[in-house]
């Protein structure tokens, strides 16, 4: 009785999945195509990957991205975990507002306001300004993941530890911390990917001082569509895929909340 209906549903769903995946598959396939044009399939080659690893600018950009992402994920994880704990434990007004608004507003607004801010402070735009900006927008994502983990935690475990004579610090270190650890790690991985992937905020806060992979990709695809971009895109996709699978192994519920 439902079969006719569900046939249509399946067709619609399959179309949606195809819509999501076909473009990305095309990028991956063309990254192995032995032609300068993203049109006809000529033959299999690794030469675009080879070119990529000899492209000095690209390597510098990759190193910058990695450096910023590492600093960002460490700082944002510490600050975001504190924010998540504070939001779970205390009734606060200002903190949730400051934590959640950067996630809700269009990124360009944060980008341009930080640009004005850094320039008015006479700061040279570069790796440092980008990292400071990335930390600001990643705190919220970490905080949400950590808070959702805390909400799923059994409070009575902490109470039991306290009854058995643990100090608040001991109870936190020995009970709460291990229980929310998967959330913290998932938050760190999320901050890392958000930072490595971010384009808009980086675009405004990097100045001429630091190019990152997304900025490099942007300037390349603005000029022309080349197979080298396919190669770097494929590598970046593989990297993100690994990080996400790792995160979903560690904290499946946290990932879904995102």
């Amino acid at each position: 009785m439902h079969s006719k209906q569900s046939k249509w549903l399946w067709a619609a769903a399959l179309l949606a999945y195809a819509f999501l995946y076909v473009p990305l598959i095309i990028v991956v396939v063309y990254s192995f195509n032995d032609s300068k044009l993203n049109a006809e399939w000529v033959g299999f080659t690794f030469k675009w990957y080879d070119m990529l690893f000899k492209n000095e600018q690209m390597l510098v950009a990759a190193r910058n991205s990695l450096l910023i992402a590492i600093v960002t994920s460490v700082c944002a994880t510490v600050l975001g975990t504190l924010a998540g704990l504070a939001m779970h434990k205390y009734k606060l007004r200002l903190l949730p507002l400051l934590v959640l608004t950067p996630i809700a507003i269009p990124e360009i607004l944060m980008g341009v306001s930080l640009l004005i801010f850094f320039v008015m402070l006479n700061m040279t735009l570069g790796l440092v300004s980008v990292a400071l900006a990335h930390i600001a927008f990643c705190i919220g994502f970490v905080a949400i993941v950590v808070r959702s983990r805390l909400q799923g935690m059994d409070e009575s475990l902490v109470e039991a530890a306290r009854d058995l004579g643990a100090t608040p610090v001991q109870a936190f270190r020995l009970v709460t911390m291990p229980l929310i650890m998967p959330g913290i790690i998932a938050g760190a991985l999320m901050a890392f990917t958000l930072s490595i992937d971010d384009f808009v905020i980086t675009f405004f806060t990097a100045g001429a001082g630091a190019s990152t992979l997304p900025l490099q990709i942007y300037s390349m695809i603005r000029i022309a569509v080349t197979p080298e971009v396919n190669a770097v895109s494929t590598l970046l996709m593989v990297l993100t895929l690994c990080l996400i699978l790792l995160a979903s192994k560690l904290a499946p519920s946290a990932l879904r909340a995102e």
């Binding site: 249509w8 549903l9 619609a12 769903a13 179309l15 949606a16 819509f19 995946y21 473009p23 990305l24 990028v27 044009l37 993203n38 049109a39 600050l79 975001g80 504190l82 704990l85 504070a86 434990k89 606060l92 903190l95 400051l98 934590v99 608004t101 950067p102 809700a104 507003i105 269009p106 990124e107 360009i108 607004l109 944060m110 341009v112 306001s113 930080l114 004005i116 801010f117 008015m120 900006a133 600001a136 705190i139 992937d197 384009f199 808009v200 405004f204 992979l213 997304p214 990709i217 942007y218 695809i221 569509v225 971009v229 895109s233 970046l236 993100t240 895929l241 996400i244 879904r256 995102e258």
Partner: protein
């Protein structure tokens, strides 16, 4: 609250609070003030601190007598006197609106199917929706540049089909259509996730009851599933509409001259023509639009929930 508790509270919430005040709240406030300032000759903002020609020392240039020379409403006047800006806002709203509707139409059947699938497949199906979203945003835009480009198979197929019915070749790249397709593509998961989260919680017994009472498939959908799913619909709409409204990279890469949006204008004011105060006015207008929409979505969402119950 005891004293040590209060200290704990500040030790925990203090560092993130301080960081976000410095790197989010203060920059936002500076931008809001910048909208009321005069632009400097070479862009940027007229300095508040500078060298006094008489003494040669650095000092505050603004005082009780001349503060009017540093504050102006002119930038806002410019926004409302030239219809180009208001029209561009309207066009961006239209792009974001169409994008939201198409996302809703594509996401609904998918979210429904996932929510009704056996439990063991649901996580996998949702993961399959999220995965492309985790690949870099620019890569997803770039993928469509290949597809829509004149040498792409998709463009050629469409033009061949159009050729059969006697319509000349069309260019898909650098058009309104390209902007909307790509906006839909990069935002689709944001619509699927809240819809799925909502649809998963529906009580199937309601649908069975409606069927027992003789309701047809469509009746069951419109009278039960749809009203119950409205909170998810509004959440998804907000998650798609707001970021789509502020986009600048998508119109930049696939929109051409016709396809620009508010974001492009803001970027232009800050980086190319370097009129920061006017750029700030545009940013404030965008912020106000977002706040208005978020407030409306919250109100309607609450109303929708109440009606559904």
């Amino acid at each position: 609250m005891s004293k040590s508790n209060r200290i704990n509270k500040w030790l925990i919430s203090g560092p993130p609070l301080l960081y976000l005040i410095i790197f989010f709240a203060i920059p936002s406030l500076i931008m809001a003030f910048a909208a009321f300032r005069f632009p400097e000759d070479y862009g940027g903002l007229l300095p508040l601190i500078g060298v006094n020609p008489d003494t040669g020392a650095n000092e505050l240039l603004v005082n009780a007598q001349n503060w009017r020379d540093y504050l102006t409403f002119e930038n806002f006047g410019l926004f409302f006197t030239d219809s180009i800006y208001v029209e561009l806002f309207a066009k961006s709203f239209w792009y974001a609106g169409i994008t939201t509707l198409i996302c809703l139409a594509m996401a609904y059947p998918l979210a429904w199917l996932i929510a009704r699938s056996p439990k063991k497949y649901r996580d996998l199906m949702i993961l399959l929706v999220i995965l492309p979203f985790w690949s870099n945003f620019l890569i997803r835009v770039y993928a469509w540049m290949i597809i829509l480009g004149p040498q792409g198979y998709f463009s050629m197929a469409i033009n061949q089909a159009l050729g059969l019915i006697g319509i000349g070749p069309v260019q898909l790249m650098f058009s309104h259509v390209a902007v909307i397709i790509v906006l839909v593509y990069v935002h689709l998961p944001f619509m699927v996730l809240p819809l799925y989260a909502n649809l998963e919680k529906h009580d199937m017994a309601l649908l069975d009851a409606a069927q027992d009472l003789g309701a047809s498939g469509w009746q069951r959908f419109w009278k039960i599933t749809w009203p119950l799913s409205l909170p998810g619909v509004w959440a998804g709409a907000a998650l798609v509409f707001i970021p789509a409204l502020g986009m600048f990279a998508v119109p930049d890469l696939v929109g051409g001259t016709d396809g620009i949006m508010i974001g492009n204008l803001i970027k232009q004011q800050f980086l190319d023509s370097r009129d920061w105060p006017f750029g700030s006015v545009l940013s404030i207008m965008l912020t106000l639009a977002v706040l208005l929409l978020a407030g409306m979505a919250a109100l309607i969402g609450r109303g929708g929930k109440r009606n559904a119950l």
